[in-house]
Protein backbone atom coordinates (compact mmCIF):
# COMPACT_ATOMS: atom_id res chain seq x y z
CA UNK A 1 0.00 0.00 0.00
CA UNK A 2 1.72 3.23 -1.08
CA UNK A 3 -0.39 5.73 0.92
CA UNK A 4 -1.40 4.22 4.27
CA UNK A 5 -5.00 4.87 5.16
CA UNK A 6 -5.04 6.93 8.34
CA UNK A 7 -8.32 8.55 9.36
CA UNK A 8 -8.73 11.99 7.83
CA UNK A 9 -8.47 13.89 11.14
CA UNK A 10 -5.03 12.38 11.73
CA UNK A 11 -3.61 13.73 8.51
CA UNK A 12 -5.25 17.14 9.12
CA UNK A 13 -3.90 17.31 12.65
CA UNK A 14 -0.43 16.23 11.60
CA UNK A 15 -0.35 18.78 8.81
CA UNK A 16 -1.13 21.54 11.27
CA UNK A 17 -4.34 22.52 9.50
CA UNK A 18 -6.30 23.00 12.71
CA UNK A 19 -3.75 25.34 14.08
CA UNK A 20 -3.82 27.41 10.92
CA UNK A 21 -0.27 26.49 10.22
CA UNK A 22 -0.64 24.41 7.15
CA UNK A 23 2.59 22.65 6.43
CA UNK A 24 3.41 19.84 4.09
CA UNK A 25 3.07 16.54 5.95
CA UNK A 26 6.15 15.92 8.07
CA UNK A 27 5.73 12.18 8.03
CA UNK A 28 5.40 10.40 4.78
CA UNK A 29 5.85 6.77 5.59
CA UNK A 30 6.52 4.93 2.32
CA UNK A 31 5.46 1.60 3.89
CA UNK A 32 3.02 0.55 6.55
CA UNK A 33 4.13 1.45 10.04
CA UNK A 34 3.84 -2.15 11.22
CA UNK A 35 6.28 -5.02 11.81
CA UNK A 36 6.70 -7.32 8.78
CA UNK A 37 6.70 -11.09 9.01
CA UNK A 38 10.33 -11.43 7.90
CA UNK A 39 13.81 -10.01 8.53
CA UNK A 40 16.32 -8.89 5.94
CA UNK A 41 18.69 -11.51 4.56
CA UNK A 42 21.98 -11.21 6.35
CA UNK A 43 25.10 -12.99 5.16
CA UNK A 44 25.84 -15.35 8.02
CA UNK A 45 29.47 -15.45 9.08
CA UNK A 46 30.89 -18.89 8.40
CA UNK A 47 32.01 -20.94 11.41
CA UNK A 48 35.69 -21.36 12.10
CA UNK A 49 37.71 -24.41 11.24
CA UNK A 50 37.93 -26.99 14.05
CA UNK A 51 40.97 -28.80 15.43
CA UNK A 52 43.57 -26.39 14.09
CA UNK A 53 45.73 -26.46 17.23
CA UNK A 54 45.90 -30.27 17.28
CA UNK A 55 46.73 -30.25 13.60
CA UNK A 56 49.56 -27.74 14.03
CA UNK A 57 50.96 -29.72 16.99
CA UNK A 58 50.91 -32.88 14.91
CA UNK A 59 52.62 -31.14 12.00
CA UNK A 60 55.34 -29.76 14.27
CA UNK A 61 55.94 -33.29 15.52
CA UNK A 62 56.13 -34.52 11.94
CA UNK A 63 58.68 -31.89 11.03
CA UNK A 64 60.87 -32.94 13.92
CA UNK A 65 60.63 -36.66 13.22
CA UNK A 66 60.87 -36.58 9.42
CA UNK A 67 57.19 -37.47 8.91
CA UNK A 68 57.36 -40.84 10.66
CA UNK A 69 54.10 -41.91 12.24
CA UNK A 70 55.58 -44.03 15.03
CA UNK A 71 57.07 -41.27 17.22
CA UNK A 72 54.03 -39.01 16.69
CA UNK A 73 51.41 -41.58 17.66
CA UNK A 74 50.21 -39.56 20.67
CA UNK A 75 49.65 -36.35 18.69
CA UNK A 76 47.91 -38.27 15.93
CA UNK A 77 45.61 -39.85 18.49
CA UNK A 78 44.64 -36.47 19.96
CA UNK A 79 44.00 -35.13 16.47
CA UNK A 80 41.70 -38.05 15.67
CA UNK A 81 39.84 -37.58 18.96
CA UNK A 82 39.33 -33.89 18.25
CA UNK A 83 38.07 -34.62 14.74
CA UNK A 84 35.63 -37.27 16.01
CA UNK A 85 34.33 -34.89 18.68
CA UNK A 86 33.82 -32.07 16.16
CA UNK A 87 32.01 -34.42 13.81
CA UNK A 88 29.69 -35.64 16.57
CA UNK A 89 28.93 -32.09 17.65
CA UNK A 90 28.11 -31.10 14.12
CA UNK A 91 25.69 -33.99 13.83
CA UNK A 92 24.07 -33.37 17.18
CA UNK A 93 23.52 -29.63 16.90
CA UNK A 94 19.81 -29.06 16.82
CA UNK A 95 18.39 -26.87 14.08
CA UNK A 96 16.36 -24.64 16.35
CA UNK A 97 18.97 -23.85 18.98
CA UNK A 98 21.32 -20.89 18.73
CA UNK A 99 24.53 -21.26 16.76
CA UNK A 100 27.90 -21.37 18.55
CA UNK A 101 28.17 -17.60 18.33
CA UNK A 102 24.78 -17.02 19.95
CA UNK A 103 22.72 -15.69 17.04
CA UNK A 104 20.12 -17.24 14.80
CA UNK A 105 20.56 -17.01 11.01
CA UNK A 106 17.97 -14.99 9.09
CA UNK A 107 16.47 -18.02 7.31
CA UNK A 108 15.60 -19.71 10.61
CA UNK A 109 14.20 -16.46 12.02
CA UNK A 110 11.97 -16.08 8.97
CA UNK A 111 10.70 -19.63 9.36
CA UNK A 112 9.74 -18.98 12.97
CA UNK A 113 8.11 -15.64 12.19
CA UNK A 114 6.05 -17.23 9.43
CA UNK A 115 4.60 -19.64 11.96
CA UNK A 116 3.44 -16.75 14.17
CA UNK A 117 2.45 -13.91 11.85
CA UNK A 118 1.57 -10.37 12.89
CA UNK A 119 -2.19 -9.88 13.07
CA UNK A 120 -2.99 -6.60 11.37
CA UNK A 121 -6.72 -6.95 10.98
CA UNK A 122 -9.75 -7.27 13.17
CA UNK A 123 -11.65 -10.48 12.87
Amino acid sequence: MAAPAYPAWVTRWVSGQWRNKKRPPTLRPPRTLALADKVANRREQSTEATCITEMSVMMACWKQNDFNDKPCAEEIRTFYDCVAKAEKERKNQNEDTLSSRGNLPSTKVNKLLKRFPQITHYV
Binding site: E48, M55, F67
Partner: protein, 233 residues
Amino acid sequence: MAAPSAAGLGRRLRAWLPRIMPVRWSRYNPSYLEPEVKKESHQKPLEELTEEERQQMELKAVRPIKAAPPSLSSSVFSDPMISKFTNMMMKSGNKVLARSLMSQTLEAIKRKQLEKYHKAPENEKERIECNPYVIFHQALKNCQPIIGLSNITRGGKAYQVPVPLTDNRKRFLAMKWLITECRENKHRRTLMPEKLSQELLLAFNNEGPVIKRKHVLHKMAEANRAYAHFRWW
Protein backbone atom coordinates in the same frame (compact mmCIF):
# COMPACT_ATOMS: atom_id res chain seq x y z
CA MET B 1 -0.77 -21.85 -26.04
CA ALA B 2 2.80 -22.81 -26.86
CA ALA B 3 4.14 -21.20 -23.67
CA PRO B 4 2.11 -23.23 -21.09
CA SER B 5 2.83 -26.49 -22.93
CA ALA B 6 6.54 -25.64 -23.08
CA ALA B 7 6.58 -24.84 -19.35
CA GLY B 8 4.69 -28.05 -18.53
CA LEU B 9 7.04 -30.05 -20.76
CA GLY B 10 10.03 -28.53 -18.99
CA ARG B 11 8.62 -29.40 -15.59
CA ARG B 12 7.79 -32.95 -16.64
CA LEU B 13 11.26 -33.37 -18.18
CA ARG B 14 12.90 -32.14 -14.99
CA ALA B 15 10.82 -34.57 -12.94
CA TRP B 16 11.78 -37.42 -15.29
CA LEU B 17 15.51 -36.58 -15.28
CA PRO B 18 16.26 -38.37 -11.94
CA ARG B 19 15.50 -41.62 -13.72
CA ILE B 20 18.16 -41.01 -16.39
CA MET B 21 21.12 -40.92 -14.01
CA PRO B 22 21.71 -44.15 -12.08
CA VAL B 23 21.29 -43.42 -8.38
CA ARG B 24 22.10 -45.91 -5.66
CA TRP B 25 18.81 -46.46 -3.90
CA SER B 26 16.86 -49.42 -2.64
CA ARG B 27 13.48 -50.69 -3.83
CA TYR B 28 12.82 -52.42 -0.53
CA ASN B 29 9.93 -51.31 1.65
CA PRO B 30 11.34 -49.59 4.77
CA SER B 31 9.85 -52.34 6.92
CA TYR B 32 12.34 -54.91 5.60
CA LEU B 33 15.12 -55.80 8.06
CA GLU B 34 18.78 -56.51 7.34
CA PRO B 35 19.80 -60.20 7.30
CA GLU B 36 21.93 -61.46 10.20
CA VAL B 37 24.78 -63.54 8.81
CA LYS B 38 27.01 -64.30 11.80
CA LYS B 39 26.55 -67.86 13.07
CA GLU B 40 27.39 -66.98 16.69
CA SER B 41 24.42 -64.68 17.06
CA HIS B 42 22.04 -67.49 16.02
CA GLN B 43 23.62 -70.09 18.30
CA LYS B 44 23.23 -68.07 21.49
CA PRO B 45 20.82 -69.70 23.98
CA LEU B 46 17.69 -67.76 24.85
CA GLU B 47 18.74 -66.83 28.39
CA GLU B 48 21.93 -65.03 27.34
CA LEU B 49 20.18 -62.47 25.16
CA THR B 50 19.82 -58.94 26.45
CA GLU B 51 16.46 -57.11 26.47
CA GLU B 52 17.02 -55.34 23.15
CA GLU B 53 18.17 -58.55 21.49
CA ARG B 54 14.97 -60.25 22.60
CA GLN B 55 12.94 -57.41 21.15
CA GLN B 56 14.92 -57.67 17.93
CA MET B 57 14.13 -61.41 17.72
CA GLU B 58 10.43 -60.74 18.22
CA LEU B 59 10.55 -58.07 15.53
CA LYS B 60 12.17 -60.52 13.12
CA ALA B 61 9.24 -62.91 13.60
CA VAL B 62 6.77 -60.41 12.10
CA ARG B 63 8.81 -58.37 9.65
CA PRO B 64 10.13 -59.53 6.27
CA ILE B 65 13.92 -59.70 5.78
CA LYS B 66 15.93 -58.50 2.81
CA ALA B 67 17.77 -60.99 0.62
CA ALA B 68 21.43 -61.36 1.58
CA PRO B 69 23.73 -59.96 -1.14
CA PRO B 70 26.21 -62.45 -2.65
CA SER B 71 29.19 -60.52 -1.24
CA LEU B 72 27.96 -61.13 2.34
CA SER B 73 29.27 -64.41 3.70
CA SER B 74 29.11 -66.24 7.03
CA SER B 75 32.36 -68.08 6.41
CA VAL B 76 35.28 -67.66 8.81
CA PHE B 77 37.55 -66.97 5.85
CA SER B 78 35.65 -63.97 4.55
CA ASP B 79 37.11 -60.56 5.38
CA PRO B 80 35.28 -57.34 4.43
CA MET B 81 38.54 -55.44 3.77
CA ILE B 82 39.83 -58.16 1.46
CA SER B 83 36.46 -58.23 -0.36
CA LYS B 84 36.59 -54.47 -0.79
CA PHE B 85 40.16 -54.64 -2.12
CA THR B 86 39.20 -57.44 -4.52
CA ASN B 87 36.29 -55.37 -5.82
CA MET B 88 38.58 -52.43 -6.42
CA MET B 89 41.01 -54.63 -8.32
CA MET B 90 38.21 -56.05 -10.45
CA LYS B 91 37.99 -54.91 -14.07
CA SER B 92 34.82 -55.10 -16.19
CA GLY B 93 33.08 -57.24 -13.60
CA ASN B 94 35.56 -60.11 -13.80
CA LYS B 95 35.26 -61.09 -10.15
CA VAL B 96 36.66 -64.59 -10.76
CA LEU B 97 39.95 -63.17 -12.02
CA ALA B 98 40.15 -60.56 -9.26
CA ARG B 99 39.54 -63.17 -6.55
CA SER B 100 42.11 -65.54 -7.98
CA LEU B 101 44.66 -62.72 -8.14
CA MET B 102 43.93 -61.87 -4.51
CA SER B 103 44.37 -65.45 -3.34
CA GLN B 104 47.59 -65.78 -5.37
CA THR B 105 48.83 -62.57 -3.72
CA LEU B 106 48.16 -63.93 -0.24
CA GLU B 107 49.85 -67.19 -1.15
CA ALA B 108 52.88 -65.32 -2.49
CA ILE B 109 53.12 -63.31 0.75
CA LYS B 110 52.96 -66.50 2.78
CA ARG B 111 55.62 -68.18 0.69
CA LYS B 112 58.01 -65.24 0.97
CA GLN B 113 57.52 -64.95 4.71
CA LEU B 114 58.00 -68.70 5.21
CA GLU B 115 61.20 -68.58 3.23
CA LYS B 116 62.43 -65.74 5.44
CA TYR B 117 61.31 -67.67 8.53
CA HIS B 118 63.21 -70.80 7.66
CA LYS B 119 66.36 -68.92 6.77
CA ALA B 120 66.34 -66.76 9.91
CA PRO B 121 68.37 -67.63 13.04
CA GLU B 122 66.54 -68.99 16.09
CA ASN B 123 66.27 -65.77 18.09
CA GLU B 124 64.73 -63.82 15.21
CA LYS B 125 62.12 -66.43 14.26
CA GLU B 126 59.40 -64.98 16.51
CA ARG B 127 59.64 -61.56 14.97
CA ILE B 128 58.74 -62.70 11.45
CA GLU B 129 55.01 -62.37 10.76
CA CYS B 130 53.73 -65.22 8.58
CA ASN B 131 49.98 -64.58 8.57
CA PRO B 132 49.20 -62.90 5.21
CA TYR B 133 45.96 -61.39 6.54
CA VAL B 134 47.81 -59.67 9.37
CA ILE B 135 50.38 -58.37 6.89
CA PHE B 136 47.63 -57.11 4.58
CA HIS B 137 45.79 -55.27 7.34
CA GLN B 138 48.91 -53.74 8.81
CA ALA B 139 50.19 -52.66 5.40
CA LEU B 140 46.88 -50.97 4.61
CA LYS B 141 46.90 -49.25 7.97
CA ASN B 142 50.42 -47.97 7.34
CA CYS B 143 49.39 -46.61 3.95
CA GLN B 144 46.40 -44.64 5.18
CA PRO B 145 46.96 -40.86 5.07
CA ILE B 146 46.15 -38.94 8.24
CA ILE B 147 45.26 -35.63 6.68
CA GLY B 148 44.13 -34.79 3.17
CA LEU B 149 44.01 -31.79 0.88
CA SER B 150 40.87 -30.32 -0.59
CA ASN B 151 40.39 -27.52 -3.11
CA ILE B 152 38.72 -24.46 -1.65
CA THR B 153 38.14 -21.35 -3.77
CA ARG B 154 38.61 -17.97 -2.12
CA GLY B 155 38.54 -14.74 -4.04
CA GLY B 156 38.63 -16.54 -7.37
CA LYS B 157 41.78 -18.50 -6.57
CA ALA B 158 41.76 -22.20 -5.62
CA TYR B 159 43.88 -23.20 -2.62
CA GLN B 160 44.86 -26.66 -1.37
CA VAL B 161 43.62 -26.69 2.20
CA PRO B 162 44.63 -29.40 4.72
CA VAL B 163 41.50 -31.11 5.92
CA PRO B 164 40.83 -34.18 8.15
CA LEU B 165 39.61 -37.28 6.32
CA THR B 166 36.91 -39.79 7.25
CA ASP B 167 37.82 -43.44 7.88
CA ASN B 168 36.21 -44.61 4.66
CA ARG B 169 38.12 -42.05 2.64
CA LYS B 170 41.43 -43.08 4.23
CA ARG B 171 40.83 -46.76 3.50
CA PHE B 172 39.79 -45.97 -0.05
CA LEU B 173 42.88 -43.83 -0.68
CA ALA B 174 45.24 -46.48 0.73
CA MET B 175 43.71 -49.21 -1.46
CA LYS B 176 43.62 -46.96 -4.52
CA TRP B 177 47.27 -45.98 -4.15
CA LEU B 178 48.34 -49.60 -3.78
CA ILE B 179 46.43 -50.72 -6.85
CA THR B 180 47.58 -47.85 -9.09
CA GLU B 181 51.16 -48.35 -7.96
CA CYS B 182 51.00 -52.05 -8.82
CA ARG B 183 49.36 -51.46 -12.16
CA GLU B 184 51.60 -48.71 -13.43
CA ASN B 185 55.10 -49.05 -12.03
CA LYS B 186 55.96 -52.60 -12.89
CA HIS B 187 57.93 -54.45 -15.49
CA ARG B 188 55.87 -55.69 -18.43
CA ARG B 189 56.46 -59.35 -17.55
CA THR B 190 55.78 -59.28 -13.78
CA LEU B 191 52.32 -60.47 -12.83
CA MET B 192 50.01 -58.64 -10.47
CA PRO B 193 50.20 -61.05 -7.49
CA GLU B 194 54.00 -60.90 -7.52
CA LYS B 195 54.10 -57.11 -7.60
CA LEU B 196 51.26 -56.72 -5.08
CA SER B 197 52.89 -59.07 -2.58
CA GLN B 198 56.12 -57.11 -2.94
CA GLU B 199 54.35 -53.80 -2.31
CA LEU B 200 52.39 -55.16 0.64
CA LEU B 201 55.53 -56.45 2.32
CA LEU B 202 57.27 -53.11 1.78
CA ALA B 203 54.28 -51.23 3.18
CA PHE B 204 54.21 -53.58 6.16
CA ASN B 205 57.73 -52.40 6.97
CA ASN B 206 56.88 -48.73 6.35
CA GLU B 207 58.97 -48.55 3.19
CA GLY B 208 58.15 -48.46 -0.48
CA PRO B 209 56.55 -46.09 -3.01
CA VAL B 210 53.06 -46.07 -1.48
CA ILE B 211 54.36 -44.94 1.90
CA LYS B 212 56.42 -42.35 0.05
CA ARG B 213 53.28 -41.06 -1.65
CA LYS B 214 51.59 -40.78 1.72
CA HIS B 215 54.55 -38.81 3.05
CA VAL B 216 54.43 -36.49 0.03
CA LEU B 217 50.77 -35.77 0.80
CA HIS B 218 51.60 -35.07 4.43
CA LYS B 219 54.44 -32.74 3.37
CA MET B 220 52.13 -30.79 1.08
CA ALA B 221 49.56 -30.50 3.85
CA GLU B 222 52.26 -29.28 6.21
CA ALA B 223 53.44 -26.71 3.65
CA ASN B 224 49.90 -25.42 3.22
CA ARG B 225 49.03 -25.31 6.89
CA ALA B 226 48.60 -21.53 6.70
CA TYR B 227 45.43 -22.05 4.65
CA ALA B 228 43.86 -24.28 7.27
CA HIS B 229 41.60 -21.42 8.36
CA PHE B 230 39.82 -21.47 4.99
CA ARG B 231 37.91 -24.50 6.19
CA TRP B 232 34.48 -23.86 7.63
CA TRP B 233 33.78 -27.23 9.13
